[in-house]
Symmetry: C2
Subunit: 473 residues, 2 copies
């Protein structure tokens, strides 16, 4: 899922790139559900009986494990997928070159030295620099927030600062994440700015079983780069209590993390070519890279394989949409966003003929429908298509943010779809060693495949393309 | 919580040790609620405003960490508690000697070697023997059950056998545990009996975040002792899928576990002496030992500190029950049960004057009431006392199993109470590194204190003692 998302509304600045429809959107859309009930039900039936996607996702994740940008695992997984897409008979199967950041975790540990010896549950944050080989041993200052750090700035010099900012649970999980992740991104530079020697955060999650969560940090320009890692919720709360009791706290942090030169990688592309308008494209996918812990089954093996299976099922059922349906597995969503940007750049000339861009990157939990970014008139039509998904409870299309890999594409005026799922447990596993196939419920996964397949197929086949952003909006 | 529990019904064999009451139980009990509403409400009010117990539990667990039998941590924690009980002004504060098993985990690891290198999430099982120093590297056989092992017995020789038996989720958690824990106890000897070189189990839990769960194993007589450990659910499922795919699987297990000579430890005892019948005793408590991972905050720091606080609040409120209320923190519940047995043995002569034995060992989650083991007439009275707890939702007293430390005592005819709580998440954390203060909800903890306090106080003060097991039952 996205490291950060610009808010909706930037689309309002975009001049419409396509001609406005002359047929009123609603009446035209109302007929879509009737027109496409047959193929939609065939896709749903096929998806709900599907075992290929789950089996392939398990095989890929078990065989290659996690897939951080720059790792051999990632390239082996990409080769494996490309070979199977070709075997499926999909068209134009290829990798598109992307240079990706290459951060390497190395050995790492964090140990409480005082008031008692205790091995902490930690994961270095992506992009962090290393400690010296002997580690950093320093007294600890626990703060509750950036404001609390500012209030205790005079106590931070030479310390390891720990930010104990809990994940907000009084808002939806995604909103809680967006608030809380500010600490993952900004802790290191905020602490360094007041003289700290390392920065640790409370893992970004509403639930923990001693589970540290990694993810990218951002070093601010002009501030010393200090090592930064996440601790488990339990361990941060314990250290915070120790500070409240007046215990002197000393901790040793050891990290070998380093960044190597950018490495060559690839976006994965495969197509079902359009029968009438092959140059018009519905693109759908997820990201194939993951963090370097767990299997990356949820984030985002599931989303990318759901998109692949959606297209494979269309082909297997003999459905031949008018426009091209293109599955893309973007690379480097997690720590750079280079894949999404590279797709935008490489396909810039054809983006005016992209009729929709869809991504699943909140896990393949029970789907509810889509978040849609685009014009109001297009949203009306998208809702009408969504009605075809009522039988599996996924008909709810609402205005909302896109996923990270299609942001650049959507900002050119392409209507954007993000698969909406029950994300109540997403952040329990996000960027952790527990992002394994066990998280994936096969039935929910099938529903995600069906939801993406029906929406993508109708978008690719309906007589007129979905309107882009309305003029003057 | 108990390693194993004999079923109810053994009580039916016990001859009643006290004279039957001449006043009908129901009419007498109906007056109890009215008679004790005042002190019950004072106890509930005090418990619901309490901060001492949480603060002490956090201080003890953070300061000493986990407390396995034989460890210095345990003895330091016992000393710390005894000192505070004396400072509280409780009577007869002392430790009662118990010799406990002394198992030491040592360094341990499990690594997948084929089909790919992968560090498994493991915890050795309590009581396991070590591997040779270089570890055991062997091919793997995954089985679903003891029956499945029997069906593949000819393939087990020289293998590391992994039992992938899921925690049943179609029954209440405690029942699921009792079914599933058979693998923790019996995997090693079942596998050794067919020539396996080590036995691994799927952790005994309905939910995992790469969380291995330890706990005791039992070596069967006459069968070679082989090393045994638990893997996380996710890792076992992955290896099982690899076997289903026909991948050759090789694993290296390294364990330094060993058992040292029995070590001296103590049951903790403190009292509020009875004002009229000090020789009659209501005993309540939890166990002070824990596994050697996490802090043992849930299992069973919470239960033992709730009992302590219940008695401290009676004293602080100036309540002087007719009979003695005795808090006991039993030792070695987890890997031997020596504390519960030692209490029974040391107090055998006074057990006929024990009017009730109560333990909390399912975590201090939201309490519902009690499981009661005893005569039907006593259950009727216990339900009447329970009615005093309706305002905090803990009035439900039902027939059910006692906890392990009071089993021997209850089997002499003493009525038994087990605090009943919402155990829906208990096994998520049970015997893991995640058994930390974070699991403890302060409000739920207060309700547990109130529930134990009210029941124990009324049992200790009501005019006639609770009837023991009825003659002829």
């Amino acid at each position: 899922m996205p490291e950060s998302n610009p808010r909706r509304g930037s689309a309002a600045l975009i001049v419409a790139l396509t001609v406005l429809l002359t047929v009123p959107a609603v009446s035209r859309a109302q007929s879509l559900a009737d027109q496409y009930r047959g193929p939609a039900n065939r896709l749903i039936d096929a998806a709900m009986a599907d075992t290929t996607a789950y089996s392939r996702l398990a095989d890929m994740t078990d065989s290659f494990g996690n897939r951080l940008s720059g790792s051999p695992n990632l390239e082996h997984a990409i080769d494996w997928i490309l070979a199977r897409m070709k075997a499926d008979g999909l068209a134009n199967v290829h990798g598109e070159p992307v240079m990706v950041p290459h951060w390497v975790r190395g050995e790492e540990s964090a140990e409480l030295v005082q008031p008692r010896a205790y091995q902490l549950h930690m994961l270095g944050l992506g992009g962090s620099v290393a400690t010296p080989p002997q580690g950093i041993t320093a007294p600890v200052l626990v703060v509750k927030s950036f404001d609390d750090l500012a209030a205790h700035a005079d106590q931070a010099k030479g310390k390891i600062v720990i930010f104990d900012s809990p994940f907000p649970t009084d808002v939806p999980p995604m909103e809680g994440y967006r608030i809380n992740v500010a600490y993952r991104g900004g802790a290191a530079s905020a602490a360094a700015a007041v003289g700290a020697v390392a920065a640790l955060i409370r893992s970004v999650t509403p639930h923990s079983q001693q589970t540290p969560h990694t993810g990218s940090l951002r070093y601010a320009p002009g501030v010393p780069k200090i090592p930064s890692a996440a601790l488990s919720v339990e361990d941060v709360e314990m250290i915070h209590r120790m500070q409240d009791r007046g215990n002197p706290i000393v901790l040793t942090l050891r990290m070998q993390a380093h960044t190597e030169p950018d490495a060559p990688s690839r976006n994965i592309v495969a197509e079902l070519r359009g029968s009438e308008k092959p140059d018009e494209v519905v693109v759908l996918g997820g990201h194939i890279d993951s963090w370097d812990v767990g299997e990356g089954a949820m984030d985002d093996g599931g989303g990318s394989f759901a998109a692949w299976e959606a297209v494979r099922l269309m082909q297997a059922l003999g459905l031949k949409p008018r426009r091209t349906v293109r599955v893309v597995m973007w690379v480097n969503e997690e720590n750079g966003g280079r894949g999404g940007r590279a797709y935008h750049d490489a396909h810039l000339a054809e983006l005016p003929r992209h009729v929709a861009a869809m991504e699943s990157d909140n896990g393949v939990f029970r789907p509810d429908g889509f978040r849609f970014q685009g014009s109001d008139s297009a949203l009306v039509i998208a809702k009408q298509i969504g009605a075809l998904l009522a039988r599996i409870g996924a008909s709810n299309v609402v205005a909302g943010d896109p996923e990270a890999d299609v942001e650049a594409t959507i900002h050119t005026g392409v209507p954007g779809f993000a698969l909406n799922v029950d994300d109540s447990r997403y952040f329990w596993f996000h960027h952790t060693a527990a992002d394994m196939m066990t998280v994936i419920d096969p039935d929910d996964f099938r529903r995600c495949i069906a939801t993406m397949a029906v929406m993508a197929y109708v978008l690719a086949d309906m007589p007129d393309p979905l309107p882009r952003v309305t003029v003057g909006r």
